[in-house]
Subunit: 385 residues, 2 copies
């Protein structure tokens, strides 16, 4: 395999961008990434997006964005894996370079969930689950996560408040991230008193509907030119899947795709979980955080919440997570989130995370999930640190 | 680059499959391809599809099909580039193997356009064009192609009847393809008298709305096992783009993405257009056939129809096209068509095309287009011949 590096990052703030279209957001992030990489062209664009057709009435985002960027002619495609689309687009772009087909690739994750052309977001999100069985029987995507959380609490003798430290950590970290959606500090008391969205999931246990775009420029190591000092290596890029429908899982409390993609990623990078300095996990709902920590090898089964309780997930903890706010507080523009995670991990590994800097960060892991972790995309990024 | 070969093919008949769902069609094609390849597992599935969300209410096809195939755990993703989704999925799968990430990959193109959950096909197809400018102003996808055909006729002094030999060739070849949608022989007279769909495009100038799935199994050369005798090499896999909106093109009569991806493909395979033994082009509308022949280097500008008039495109002609019926008569289940083309090219290169066999076929080119060739995906396949 050829070495693949990230040489540029860009992002829009995550907001309800009522004044910007999908293409504007994507181009804004792409131009920022090109500028950051000091390059003015790429050989291919990979677009991570889930719902542009359903919500914006626009498919064919690859050709659209190559064109909008003034680069029509180059290769382009859209990659979709529900909420794991962003991570999957990075994986596809990574392979394009690793194969020797492309010298430089742009990856952009973008999602426009407000100011809709058609449809509704809840119906769109339900398309991440099994349409013929789950959606057809009326369960929403948040409902599926609520079922898991209820069962998890029952099996491991926990209450809703045991999950609050995850939201608190995310919101605390978002305060210092200018691109985060929620920048107002919150208290444990506020989180505990927040209203239910889908019992037992409360408002602070769920990520928001929002718009945003994030972009990366990838390059082969031999083409880094003047960028080698700031280049961040992609040490692993892996995907694994699980049953799409929750009811088909023998063990609904174990995220098998997270486990499989993590194990493959550790092997590809030649490391163990203990080597990871920070973990941008897919905290679309609070319940997914402890389950990801467990399946990725950072906590024993049923003990993921202890890491939050004990402060291990804080910026200065043993395993910082959601260091720029996570999906919960930076926001979760679904197809974009996997790329936001990578952008933030690069900020950390470059030492550019400002007040949220994880000291001596050298290895960062990001994990982009689709559905209830029916798809898990894991990346391990290695800095010079 | 590692050598990548196609070791298995599978397809469903193209029909209005009112009794089969998207997942059934895809699994049927995948199982046939696995059987044909004599393998029972792959490392990853790449799904080419455009409108599953809009028409079937289901995204996340990668995880869905890995699961339905009994292979949950493996890597999976959906690739979209409008009607070029099938070709793009092959490209992505090809890179996965060429990069050394996967040993064996399944690629499936699938589209379900009848028996809809929601939406309508015309609105869905319009998403291949520029939503904010073209679709918003009310032009349909067939309308865009009608504009080009009208201009092409004006510039090159042609009439509707000059395009009829393309439809005749496609329908003639479909008669002997059991998987084709239209198997009844038609006459030039019938084609000439057919009604207009969007003037000057008549019924016989447009491909049908239909359902279908086609699949390939790709493998590295060193992992062919017992399959080497029937393996077909992917000698080139390239993508290029053009402006998404027709009105942005300086020359709307020249398919620049087709030209660029063809040139790159010839270079990658180390051949010239004269070496190509058959060309599965994207005849979604008659007008696209001569324009593809020109941009891909088989005819001078404005003379593409002459190849049809002179019989060069027939099975026993100099450059057979649409040898199993093409998009016009085999049918065009949009995201699947690019994979059908590859399946049919493999049938030709293996010498398994029965009555439609192109004699001594060794090099086949397939071209999968998205929108009005805003995306062009070109593959060159090399047989032992």
């Amino acid at each position: 395999m050829r070495d693949v590096s990230i040489i540029g990052i860009g992002q829009t703030p995550v907001r309800e961008h009522w004044d910007k279209s999908l293409r504007q957001l994507a181009v804004e992030a792409l131009l920022a990434a090109l500028k950051d990489a000091h390059v003015d062209e790429v050989d291919a664009i990979y677009v991570g997006n889930m719902l542009s057709g359903e919500l914006t009435g626009q498919e064919h985002l690859g050709a659209l964005l190559a064109d909008q960027l003034g680069m029509n002619g180059i290769a382009a495609m859209k990659v979709e894996a529900a909420c794991g689309a962003g991570g999957s687009a990075i994986h596809a772009g990574y392979l394009g370079i690793a194969a020797g087909q492309y010298r430089r690739v742009a990856v952009v994750g973008v999602e426009k969930m407000t100011d809709l052309w058609n449809g509704n977001v809840a119906a769109g999100l339900a398309m991440a689950a099994d349409g013929e069985y789950e959606a057809a029987n009326g369960i929403s995507f948040v409902g599926l996560n609520a079922l898991i959380m209820r069962r998890y609490m029952y099996e491991y003798d926990l209450v809703e408040e045991d999950f609050a430290p995850f939201a608190l950590n995310a919101h605390t970290n978002a305060v210092n991230n200018p691109n985060a959606m929620f920048r107002k500090a919150v208290t444990l008391d506020q989180i505990r008193k927040s209203k239910k969205v889908a019992d037992p999931i409360s408002l602070f246990d769920a990520s928001p509907v929002c718009d945003g775009a994030a972009a990366l420029i990838l390059s082969r190591r031999e083409n880094l030119n003047g960028n080698s000092a700031r280049a961040i290596e992609i040490a692993a890029s892996t995907i694994a899947t699980d049953t799409l429908a929750l009811h088909d899982r023998q063990d609904p409390l174990w995220l098998r795709a997270v486990e499989l993609s993590s194990i493959k990623a550790y092997a590809q990078a030649g490391i163990t979980p203990q080597d990871i300095d920070l973990f941008e996990l897919h905290d679309a709902f609070s319940i997914i955080a402890p389950m990801s920590l467990e399946a990725a090898g950072f906590a024993r089964r049923g003990t993921g919440t202890y890491l939050a309780r004990d402060g291990a997930i804080a910026i200065d903890g043993k395993l910082p997570i959601s260091t720029m706010g996570g999906l919960k507080a930076r926001g979760h523009p679904i197809g974009a989130s996997g790329v936001y995670q990578a952008v933030e991990a690069v900020q950390q590994l470059r030492g550019e995370a400002d007040k949220n800097q994880v000291q001596n960060a050298r290895l960062a892991m990001t994990q982009s999930l689709g559905g209830v972790a029916a798809t898990a995309v894991t990346h391990i990024l290695r800095g010079k640190g």
